[in-house]
């Protein structure tokens, strides 16, 4: 049999426990042995809060973790945006919802600009408005700008949930040494005992050029402080696991499949790095893709979407706007709507959003 059966995951906190929980949910427990060697070496755990982006709902569905469990065990609170504070002290909120409502195939930011509204664009993003007012409802009222939500989780509580789902053999490493051979990792010496596996998932924060080589898959590297705040800390592990699952290997580790994994990983890393440069408000040395994004946005408020994007259009608009990049113009097709009627509609939308917020605030006050 050429199937790989033994998997060792090396790392700390959710970086290690999430792959363990994910694989346990996906693999028949009788056939696969998952061992987790917990080491604080190169850990990025901060034992504070962690942001789970809206896409984590798929992940939680896979590992059979319901919202109420996240609430009771990881103190889950809804998150309508990723709130980032950069080194310059600037706060940038990347919303998990749309700016306004598109009409007749034209995106709202163009309609807003054409309408000449003096209200800031951010006030048309219900997710942002509710975030600012510390309000929440799970779903946007009919006709209001759509959004989704993620969670802010207590890292320790979340780790405990993952641990319970993983049902993995757990070893606390006092000493750890990784022995490499021609075919990747030969063995791991942990607490003076040798451990061998078919696949090693390395969840330590180690910089790498190639994520996957032979039997050694690195899932956390080049960790950026923004990854905590943007929710990428969790999201990138989720993406790594989903990719791995689609390209699940056997012990031959077909080079073509590993190359595909690495290619996809590299493409996604570029988008992550680009966003981090924008958040840092210093885009020197950015990719061609980000250069294109900036130019297109600057010209007419359009967002270029590339292959394997991670961030939504709304998040790019927020980050580009925070960088001070202003769209010089708007999509001409906004002119299809009568200017006076459009201006009225835009104001009505603003009032409707304000009304939603007021009603929620009143309800909150009454509760208190």
């Amino acid at each position: 049999m050429n199937q790989l059966r033994r998997i060792i995951i090396i790392g700390d906190s959710i970086e290690a426990w999430l792959p363990a929980a994910y694989l346990r949910a996906r693999l028949p427990s009788d056939d696969y042995q998952i061992t987790l060697i917990e080491t604080a070496e190169n850990s990025i755990a901060n034992n504070g809060d962690i942001l789970a982006r809206p896409t984590s709902k798929n992940l939680h569905h896979t590992i059979e973790t319901a919202e109420h469990e996240l609430g009771s065990k990881a103190k889950a609170r809804p998150a309508l945006c990723a709130a980032i504070t950069n080194d310059k002290g600037a706060t940038i909120n990347l919303p998990f919802g749309n700016y306004g409502v598109d009409r007749e195939g034209t995106e709202f930011q163009h309609l807003w600009k054409f309408s000449g509204s003096e209200k800031p664009l951010s006030e048309f993003n219900l997710a942002l408005v509710m975030h600012k007012a510390s309000l929440f409802i799970p779903e946007a009222p009919k006709g209001a700008p759509a959004y989704d939500y993620g969670y802010i989780l207590d890292e320790q509580g979340y780790k405990n949930i993952l641990k319970s789902k993983a049902n993995a053999k757990h070893i606390m490493a006092d000493t750890l040494s990784v022995k490499h051979g021609v075919h990747g990792i030969d063995e791991i010496i942990c607490n003076d005992i040798s451990h061998c596996a078919d696949l090693y998932i390395d969840a330590r924060n180690i910089d790498y050029e190639t994520a996957w080589q032979n039997n050694h898959l690195k899932i956390i590297g080049g960790f950026d402080a923004f990854d905590h705040q943007s929710g990428m800390r969790l999201h990138r592990i989720q993406m790594a696991m989903e990719r791995l699952f689609k390209l699940w290997p056997d012990r031959e580790f077909a080079a073509i499949e590993i190359a595909e994994y690495n290619r996809l990983e590299a493409a996604q890393s570029v988008h992550m790095k680009d966003m981090n440069l924008l958040l840092q408000q210093n885009v020197q040395g950015c990719s061609d893709a980000l250069t294109r994004k900036i130019k297109l946005f600057e010209s007419r408020g359009r967002i270029a979407i590339e292959d394997f994007e991670i961030y939504s259009k709304a998040e790019w608009i927020a980050a580009l706007s925070a960088m001070g990049i202003v769209a010089q113009n708007y999509d001409r097709l906004a002119h299809r709507i009568d200017a006076i009627a459009l201006a009225q509609w835009v104001e009505q939308l603003h009032a409707a959003i304000a009304n939603v917020v007021k009603q929620l605030s009143d309800r909150k006050t009454r509760k208190h």
């Binding site: 693999l27 699952f245 699940w248 499949e257 595909e260 294109r292 130019k295 590339e306 394997f308």
Partner: protein
């Protein structure tokens, strides 16, 4: 005030590309703020023969607010559930490329992996046994999926076969209803501005001069504006896709139309068969290096279902694309942008894709290079993905019975395709790029259909017991059989909802 706004658009060339562009732009341009003018000459024929489409056309019609049944009636259309490929892998072989999907994904793993596991264990069922499209197509059945139909019928994807000339007429009426102006005339001269080389105007044979801010070149292979005037250049892909000629002819239909296109491999290319309500469209796409015009015509005429209804029409082309689809203030749409043989019915889609991207990146008079470059980048990527998918059909053939097939079987292929094929071969892995047209069902249908079955499957499939997989697949087959059994025939569906007028009294001149 907005002085930079594009107010005047001139589309040169009618036909499908020209009238699709006119329909979209006249509908979407702000009312009273722009003029769409289309120049065409009845003296210049259009390429339009029977056209087959892919499901994305529904989005185009929907966006324009076109009622589907009206469209079907007006264009003598029939429904298309996929393409049957005959004699492609080898003589006597056939397979079906369905719209929709093969089966259902189970536990987050694509269906074909489960099918492949059972196949490895001796189950000889074909993957198309799990396609509702294939089952409906081979039983001449059709129903338009509605939400209340449940998950099986809702997997049915469909497109249309229609008469391209009637479609152009239908869109002309639509466009003119939305304010587009049609001018009968031949372009005699394209006048460029001295300062920036933009097209300033075109002069017609009758001396009329038409100025515009934006010109759309729908002049077909010739590329009157994009190539002859702006000399954009052409990227030749004929080393990968060597067919360069076609001969087309309509014939009488025999019996009820079938709800799929048929592509039959011939000595130096392949023959299409497109069933319409009033007739059948036929054509033979071939490589002139391996077969003469006369031989090709003979091949086509000897393989018709019914009596020919017109004289054969011959076409020449070179597969490839313009170096730039949008150059200065001119956007090439349709055959002037590039040509790819209609093997997977992508011609209309490429027109649609060009129009929708132009609308998404609609310029002002300055023709900002940022938007132009983005348009060109997106189209380049889209064309390359389709090119690779077309090459797949040829490179996977086992045929060695003619010089043509020997060439395509052994020719070199692009690296992008090599990588995709290697991933499919190893374990049926497939990753779809955002702008890629064909999905995993399409790639697997053609690869498996031509004998390029993945050597393995995703080992995660073993998470489900063999018994469980066998039962799940049996249930899918049973559900498909039951759904197809309950469907009306395509003809019954057409008769009830969208029957075209009798051709000999209403549109006899089109034959």
């Amino acid at each position: 005030m907005d002085n930079g706004r594009v107010k005047n658009i001139v589309i040169v060339g009618g036909g499908t590309a020209g009238w699709m562009s006119a329909a979209a732009l006249s509908k979407l341009m702000p009312k009273g703020q722009g003029n769409v003018t289309l120049v065409e000459s009845e003296e210049i024929g259009t390429v339009g023969v029977g056209e087959a489409t892919i499901p994305q056309i529904a989005t185009f019609n929907e966006r324009l607010g076109i009622n589907e049944d009206d469209f079907i009636r007006e264009t003598q259309a029939t429904f298309k559930l996929g393409i049957e490929f005959v004699d492609w892998a080898k003589k006597g072989d056939r397979y079906f490329h369905p719209f929709g999907t093969h089966g259902f994904d189970l536990e987050g793993i694509e269906f074909h992996h489960y099918w492949n596991k059972l196949r490895e264990q001796g189950d000889n069922r074909n993957i198309e046994d799990y396609s509702i499209n294939a089952a409906a197509a081979y039983n001449d059945k059709f129903i338009r999926p509605q939400s209340e139909h449940g998950p099986i019928i809702n997997k049915l994807g469909y497109a249309f076969h229609f008469d391209a000339i009637l479609y152009a007429k239908f869109l002309r009426k639509f466009s003119e209803g939305n304010g587009a102006r049609r001018i009968e005339g031949k372009v005699e001269k394209v006048n460029l501005r001295n300062d920036n080389g933009f097209i300033e105007s075109i002069t017609l044979a009758d001396g009329q001069v038409l100025e515009a801010d934006l010109f759309i070149d729908c002049t077909g292979f010739r590329g009157l504006l994009i190539e002859e005037a702006l000399q954009t250049g052409y990227i030749d892909w004929s080393e990968y896709l060597p067919v360069d000629s076609a001969v087309a002819i309509p014939c009488e239909k025999i019996g009820e139309p079938i709800p799929y296109t048929r592509s039959t491999a011939r000595e130096a290319g392949w023959q299409w068969r497109i069933p319409l309500q009033h007739r059948t469209g036929n054509g033979y796409v071939y490589c002139s290096q391996y077969q003469s015009k006369e031989e090709a015509e003979k091949t086509l005429l000897s393989n018709l279902d019914g009596k020919p209804l017109a004289s054969p029409k011959h076409l020449r082309f070179k597969t490839g694309r313009r170096k730039k689809f949008w150059s200065k203030n001119c956007v090439a749409i349709g055959l002037s942008a590039g040509f790819m043989e209609p093997l997977e019915s992508t011609s209309i889609h490429l027109i649609q894709s060009g129009i929708s991207k132009l609308i998404a990146l609609f310029p002002d008079k300055s023709m900002n290079p940022v938007e132009r470059d983005e348009y060109n980048r997106l189209l380049e990527v889209g064309y390359a993905h389709i090119r690779d998918f077309l090459i797949l059909h040829y490179t996977l053939t086992e045929r060695d019975d003619s010089a043509f097939w020997n060439y395509v079987r052994t020719m070199s292929i692009p690296d992008s395709l090599k990588r995709k094929m290697a991933l499919i071969e190893s374990r049926g892995r497939f990753f779809k790029y955002d702008d890629e047209l064909f999905n995993v069902t399409s790639w697997m249908a053609v690869a498996i259909g031509q004998g390029y079955t993945p050597k393995g499957y995703n080992p995660m499939v073993d998470s489900l017991s063999e018994e469980n997989i066998t039962q799940s697949l049996r249930n899918i087959r049973a559900a498909i059989d039951k759904a197809v059994e309950a469907m009306p025939t395509q003809q019954a569906f057409i008769d009830r909802f969208c029957k075209a007028q009798d051709v000999y009294t209403a549109a006899g001149e089109n034959i």
